[in-house]
Each structure stands twice: as C-alpha cells, then as structure tokens.
C-alpha cells in the first residue's frame, strides 16, 4: 500500500518555508526522499533510518517518527531551484532483505515563485 503524502501541492514565494508529510500504514525500516524536476529523472535527497538522526541536504531537512510511521520534509528559506515534485519512498520490514525495494507516495508538487 502506497504511503500518503500531504499536501498534494504547495505554492511558495522565495524565502518561504514549507513542510511535506509522508504517512504509512505499515511499520517502516526507512524513509527516502526524492525530488523530480520537470522533464527530469527523480534525484535522491536523503534517507532516514529507524533509530537514526534527522538528516539534512542543503537547507532541506527531514525527520522520521517511527512510532507514528511518518516522515516530514522541511524546506527552509525556499529557492527557485527547489521547485519540483517531491516523493517519499518507504522501505518496510520484509523478514529478510528488502533489496532496497521502495514504495513511493503519490508526490507533492512544489512551486516556488520569485
């Protein structure tokens, strides 16, 4: 079952902050975040592991609440280059190796205006 992302879309002006949430109904081992710019391939931002620390990528950070099976992506002082679609990918427990298999959310479209 796919994780649910919210909101579906966000419109910001440069310098504003945003939060994107990712919620799963399954117990999670890790949460991954990717960004896809229009017409391009998704690009890895960061991975959050169970029991791990909050991660950062430039001015983008993320947290992982294992008990609630939720992750949040925080975009601080947004730049024009942050525009794109953000996907969370969740990795559950498979009783062995998951082979890095991810289940992706439906995506959140972020638009940053000057």
């Amino acid at each position: 079952q796919q994780p649910v992302q919210s909101p579906q879309a966000v419109i910001l002006r440069e310098g504003e902050d945003a939060v994107i949430n990712c919620s799963s109904s399954k117990a999670l081992y890790s949460v991954h975040w990717y960004r896809q710019k229009h017409g391009e391939a998704p690009v890895f931002l960061m991975i959050l592991l169970k029991g791990g620390e909050q991660m950062r990528h430039e001015k983008i950070s993320a947290s992982f609440n294992e008990k609630k099976q939720q992750s949040s992506l925080y975009l601080t002082a947004s730049q024009l280059s942050y525009s794109g679609t953000y996907f969370c990918g969740t990795e559950g427990y498979a009783g062995g190796t998951s082979y890095g298999k991810l289940t992706f959310g439906q995506g959140t479209i972020l638009t940053v205006h000057p």
Binding site: A41, P42, F87, E91, Y99, G100, K101, F104, Q106
Partner: protein, 111 residues
C-alpha cells in the same frame, strides 16, 4: 558519476505489439528496478532484479515481464501492449548508500 541510460526517450507503439524497454547502468550495481509513473499515482514498482537472472514481481507486474542476462542491463517487456500501458517508464539501480539512481525515462504511447 553513476549513469543509468534508457534506450528511448519517446516510443509510440500499436496495441498488441511486443515492446522492449532497455536500461543500462555503468556502476556494477546488483539491484535494478522498473517503475511506471502516472500523474497522481507517483512511481509504482513493476519488477526488480537483485542479481543476474534473478527477478521478483513488484506491485503491478501484470502485463509485463523482465529479463536480466547481464549485470548492467535490465529489460522490461510488454508482451502485448495495451492502451492502459501508456505511461512514463523509469529504470533505477541501487547504490551503496541505498539510494536509487534513475534513468531519464521512456514515455511510451500505445495507440
């Protein structure tokens, strides 16, 4: 830099045709994945492979098959293309820090 390439950016096929989508990675990665991407549905896993000749079904394998004869190459096969398989197809390989490296995608239209 890791490079994942896909054989075509755009492809137009007719209903019932057999379609091959090819993906090649140059980083000696063990695991490779095929996804389809549709608006509002995100990326959905079709098949993945964790070694040469080893494959497993993903979440939406119906109507698809795969082939991995060499480590660097992972092919997606549509045995008999249908209009509901019109989509963007993305291939990825798994790096050492568990990040997936994606190819540029193939936009397939089935008429």
């Amino acid at each position: 830099d890791v490079k994942v390439t896909q054989s075509s950016r755009y492809l137009v096929k007719r209903t019932g045709e057999k379609v091959f989508l090819e993906c090649v990675q140059d980083m000696d990665h063990e695991n490779m994945f095929w996804y389809r991407q549709d608006p509002g549905l995100g990326l959905r896993l079709i098949y993945f492979s964790y070694d040469v000749k080893m494959k497993e079904k993903g979440d939406i394998p119906e109507g698809y098959s795969v082939s991995r004869e060499k480590k660097e190459r992972f092919s997606l096969i549509l045995e008999s293309a249908s209009t509901n398989q019109t989509s963007m197809y993305l291939c990825a390989s798994l790096g050492g820090v568990r990040e997936q490296f994606f190819g540029p995608g193939t936009r397939l239209t089935v008429l």
